[in-house]
């Protein structure tokens, strides 16, 4: 039995139940303690993976095919690490953020935030540790329900509409995924990812399973043009929830997509399918950035930026499906860059949304023009936003730079140079909306501007700053993280020597 692995699942779920039961004034503190334990156990799993390589666990002593196998390799470890860093700082931020939510409907929103958040955290861990297709389906649903519960916390008309739209897409997406699981089970008689990797053949039915599963997961990842539900949901939720959704939740379904395209479907995908996904990514960058540039509200701008940044994750697929003769070197490079983008976007975007929460508290609104003069009032927060912007734009030495450099290099090397237009152009567009976002903060306040009413807690500012700093730091310490990612060879490519 592996204590860290099982504990990292047990702690957040048990914590979620506990937080439901305890009196109101203890909820926040207990969540903070559970967060510390959960993040610690996740780091324990990461350490084991670094020490022993791939970790396998038969939950309850039952192995596949009867039981549910848990497994952690380098890719799982990187995602666990990301969730631990974002989760811990987010819990700290939420601890102070929800202090002002102390009457009526707001108090209820606050008391429900804690159990939903721990449930979401536990589900994310379950996702990264699952080695079983059906288990992944259940986890996808858990993540979806927890995320929607978090979106609709405040119960206003706006969030209910956004939550409803999100729910429909999430359910349709998981049903589509489940249909693919059923088809695969019908053909190969197993749900275990490891066994399926060896069994899968390139026949029409497997290809059909690949299509429905990919489409379902793309819906949940909000890849253009299936992104329409994301901006209202991410922008209307409370600040900590927006950060969770953009940083972690959309990456969950993308993680399954990675596992499938590099595992079961590695020999099934055709260049045309890869191309289509690449084109969707290009569309996401253009459309998301264009929308971000014309938003008048800060959180809508950041939410559309998520749509754009998710586009970068798609260039991996045409390279994987289209450049088989390159010996795997460019596929590997693209995969590394893409996962690095997942990581750096999670840190930068969480930081931006948390900062947006501070801006809203200080300025009383999230309209960009109400941000005038904030650079004097909240210098640390505005600095944090600029720092997160550096990583999103992909400027050295940030994590975003490493990610985009690897993707760009793989795109050029594999001969599909045309994607570079979008990789570079997307960076310029990001610079554009980052400028728009920060510009108003540096303008002078004018007569007739409303007072800046709210005060913010320094701990919240430091939490957002720590996330932005982490986003830059992972660019400086990239080699170590990339080594962890490659433990257990999760992408099935060994590089040039194939």
């Amino acid at each position: 039995m592996n204590a860290a692995l099982q504990g990292s699942l047990l702690a957040p779920f048990a914590g979620a139940l506990l937080v439901l039961l305890v009196p109101e004034k203890l909820k926040a503190r207990i969540t903070l303690v559970v967060s510390l334990v959960t993040a610690g156990l996740a780091l324990g799993v990461v350490r084991e993976v670094m020490r022993d390589g791939v970790v396998h666990e038969r939950a309850g002593g039952w192995g596949a095919p009867l039981g549910i196998d848990l497994a952690a390799d380098g890719l799982s470890a990187i995602h666990l690490l990301m969730t631990a860093v974002v989760g811990l700082l987010l819990s700290l931020y939420a601890f102070y953020y929800f202090r002002s939510y102390d009457d009526g409907r707001k108090a209820r929103a606050r008391s429900l935030f804690w159990p939903f958040w721990l449930m979401l955290w536990g589900s994310m861990h379950a996702l990264f540790l699952s080695g079983d297709l059906f288990n992944l389906y259940v986890v996808l649903e858990l993540i979806g329900l927890a995320a929607i519960g978090l979106v609709i916390l405040t119960g206003s008309r706006e969030v209910l509409g956004a939550g409803m739209r999100y729910l429909m897409v999430a359910m349709a997406g998981s049903m589509s995924y489940l249909l693919g699981v059923v088809l695969l089970y019908g053909m190969y008689g197993t749900l275990d990812l490891g066994s399926l990797n060896a069994l899968a053949e390139a026949n029409p039915l497997t290809r059909a399973a690949c299509v429905v599963m990919t489409v379902g997961l793309l819906m949940k990842t909000a890849v253009f043009p299936l992104h329409f539900w994301l901006p209202p949901a991410h922008a209307s939720a409370t600040a900590p929830v927006s950060a969770l959704l953009s940083a972690l939740v959309v990456k969950g379904s993308f993680y399954i997509l990675l596992r499938l395209w590099f595992g079961v479907f590695a020999d099934v995908v055709t260049p045309a399918m890869g191309w289509l996904l690449g084109a969707m990514g290009a569309g996401a960058i253009l459309w998301g950035s264009y929308q971000a540039l014309r938003q008048a509200r800060l959180k809508m701008l950041i939410a559309h930026s998520t749509v754009a940044q998710l586009g970068y994750l798609m260039f991996l697929f045409p390279i994987v499906a289209g450049a088989m003769d390159a010996g795997g070197a460019y596929q590997l490079e693209a995969a590394k860059g893409t996962v690095y983008h997942v990581l750096s976007h999670a840190l930068a975007k969480a930081s931006l949304f948390l900062s947006a929460g501070l801006v809203m508290t200080a300025a009383g609104s999230d309209r960009l023009r109400d941000m005038r003069g904030l650079a004097e009032r909240l210098p640390l927060t505005i600095f944090t936003m600029a720092l997160a912007g550096v990583s999103l734009m992909g400027l050295p030495p940030s994590g975003g730079f490493i990610a985009k450099w690897l993707i760009a290099h793989a795109v050029l090397g594999s001969g599909q140079w045309w994607w570079i237009v979008f990789v570079v152009g997307g960076g310029l567009l990001t610079a554009g909306y980052m400028f728009l976002m920060l510009r108003s903060a540096f303008l002078e306040r004018q007569d007739g501007d409303p007072d800046l009413p709210g005060r913010v807690s320094p701990a919240m500012e430091y939490a957002a700053l720590a996330l932005a700093l982490a986003g830059v730091l992972i660019g400086i310490r990239a080699a170590g993280l990339l080594d962890i990612m490659m433990i257990g060879n999760p992408f099935g490519f060994t590089g040039g020597g194939l």
Partner: protein, 102 residues
């Protein structure tokens, strides 16, 4: 074998019908029903797959998956009903309009 194909096709037809409803019907309750029709399509295929080898006993694994799937679908539907109810109470409308999105 023929009946297996027939049931599978029926399942896929149900799935597509539901998918259309989820995306193109405005009324919330109808969309929820469409979601459940989608699920019913997948579940039907699961039942078919349990008998795919024409052995004396059907394969129990798809049945277990089916039960789990039903539990998930019921909980999700209940959750969605609660949200839809509150939404209708607050807005007095039965559909989520595009004007909310912008």
């Amino acid at each position: 074998m023929d009946s297996l194909i027939l049931y599978s096709l029926a399942g896929i037809l149900l799935f597509c019908t539901g998918l259309y409803g989820v995306f193109f019907i405005a009324h919330l309750l109808k969309r929820l029903m469409a979601m459940n029709i989608m699920a019913a399509g997948v579940f039907l295929i699961l039942i078919v797959i349990a008998r795919r080898n024409a052995e004396a006993f059907p394969d129990p694994v798809p049945h277990a998956m089916l039960l789990t799937g039903i539990v998930v679908a019921v909980s999700a539907t209940a959750f969605a009903c609660a949200i839809a109810r509150r939404y209708v109470d607050i807005t007095g409308r039965t559909g989520v309009d595009e004007e909310d999105a912008s």
